[in-house]
Symmetry: C2
Subunit: 309 residues, 2 copies
């Protein structure tokens, strides 16, 4: 799957991932009206609305991008109905040939981590049968509990040729509370980055590892250091756009082969029609606004990368 | 809810929580047969089996214990059907008057964390209506992303009078990978413990805070230090029994009022009938074996606490 991701990035010339993190406040009135009309103002109605919203955005952007990253919290908040919409979104994106990164940030120990791995990237056995409940291609993981929490995912991913992105340095302001604390003179995130490189070393695709890292766009200096610590790990970069990261900040996250990073934008793409510069599309054509925003993001990032050469 | 937890511990004289972490391999053949007979060897069949298994254990133990802790991974692995069984389990335990600690270990930033909080301990708005999808009383949280990831939960919990347990020092062998690393001469988990005390200080119940901590039974020396750092935080203690923690190890986790900690056992209770000492109950009476194991656990812990006085 890491090979597919690399290939799709090369084909699309777009090291970007669209974050499918739908909030009901992003969903245009005409979709809400239709879903609530059919299902009422219920959890099923909300789930239908975010699914219809996603579908239209995917229909209008899939040919431009290699991957999507649905944030499971935005679905889980609507309970099982929301999680049905999550699975439907994963399936639909995969039908369109997109790589799906499930932003689940799970992390637990032993058999518990194994259960998450089975449900998200593996197979779960029921009697003599096997099922793949959420079937993402990659997932994000929280490393605080150590290798015990990551290894069950690696075991499953090895079998299924899927991969993970481990949180190393997140994009939020308080990521420094613990991640930046100095351990033997070096910030904790560097130690986590070293573990990611170590875990990934014997789990390689053609040119990159199946074990990637999450490093926020909002900390380019740290991105530069982490790029060197984990040369074979793909870096998933949140924080571009709405959170304040600019294209110029992104160059250090890439390797000299022009690969090695994939930049996420969520709100900036899926709620583009709410921004002044895309307002002329109007709520009816919100997905066309998303397409325009994707095109602008690709140009912005490629421009900045060209400028570095 | 922290007041309810304290009161129930005092009433039952049992500082224990039963971990409802059902694996299909724990579920006796006669239940599997019935569920598969009705739903086939499907995810719905698996979900029904773990629900029936849980229900019988709760029916046989609810009067002895203050709380249960369902581990969501064990349900999530069966997809949306599994999560229906999770919600059903939460509801059923609450009907029995039990405090429900959702072991979800979520952690994300800003609005994303807010979405998890709404779905698990709060309310989610759909049009003019509000829903409480998973409605646990407490949840466990992963602190790696810092206060940004915890605060949205605290905001919701304050409104709903619910609470959290933040992972401080987990019970697994590799918890030391990052949690034990020295920061200014002190292990990271102590710094996390200090933050827990700080976050909890202005969010107090009658005698304990709504912000608790998870500290594994397998590290009693660390438990002793953390007890002092977080005097007003309840400590949720996993790792007793199957993971190797003994009752003697547990004394340091309690305050002098005999409160302040609640000890979890999962496999040791719910799969008790598979242990030699409870084998005579047989698979048909698995829940009676669980009751006997709960009684033994309570006696074991209270005996050790008495011995300390």
């Amino acid at each position: 799957m890491i090979n597919k991701l690399v290939k799709k990035i090369q084909q699309t010339k777009a090291p970007v991932v669209v974050g499918l993190d739908p909030m009901l406040s992003y969903v245009p009135e005409h979709i809400l009206k239709k879903s609530y009309g059919e299902f009422g103002e219920t959890l099923a109605g909300a789930a239908d609305a975010i699914w219809q919203f996603n579908k239209e955005i995917v229909d209008k952007t899939w040919d431009l991008i290699p991957a999507v990253k649905p944030q499971i919290a935005m679905y889980e908040q609507f309970g099982v109905e929301g999680l049905k919409a999550f699975e439907k979104t994963v399936s639909y994106c995969q039908e369109k040939g997109l790589v799906v990164i499930g932003d689940i940030k799970r992390g637990d120990i032993g058999s518990t981590s194994g259960a998450y791995a089975a449900g998200h990237v593996g197979r779960v056995k029921v009697g003599s049968r096997e099922y793949t409940p959420f079937h993402e291609d990659f997932v994000t993981l929280n490393p605080y509990m150590g290798i015990d929490s990551v290894k069950p995912f690696l075991d499953v991913c090895r079998e299924e040729k899927k991969g993970v992105f481990v949180l190393v340095k997140t994009s939020n302001p308080s990521s420094g509370d613990f991640q930046d604390r100095l351990v033997e003179g070096r910030p904790l995130y560097e130690w986590v980055g070293e573990k990611v490189a170590e875990w990934g070393a014997d789990f390689m695709g053609d040119s990159y590892s199946y074990v990637g890292a999450v490093v926020g766009a909002t900390y380019p200096e740290m991105g530069k250091v982490l790029r060197k610590i984990m040369p074979k790990s793909f870096i998933l970069v949140p924080g571009y756009g709405a959170q304040g990261g600019t294209a110029k900040d992104l160059a250090p996250y890439f390797n000299e082969d022009g690969l090695g990073a994939i930049v996420n934008s969520s709100r900036g793409i899926i709620a583009a029609y709410k921004q002044e510069q895309y307002a002329s599309f109007g709520p009816e054509h919100f997905a066309d606004a998303s397409r325009a925003a994707v095109e602008a993001m690709i140009a912005d990032i490629n421009g900045a990368l060209e400028g570095e050469k």
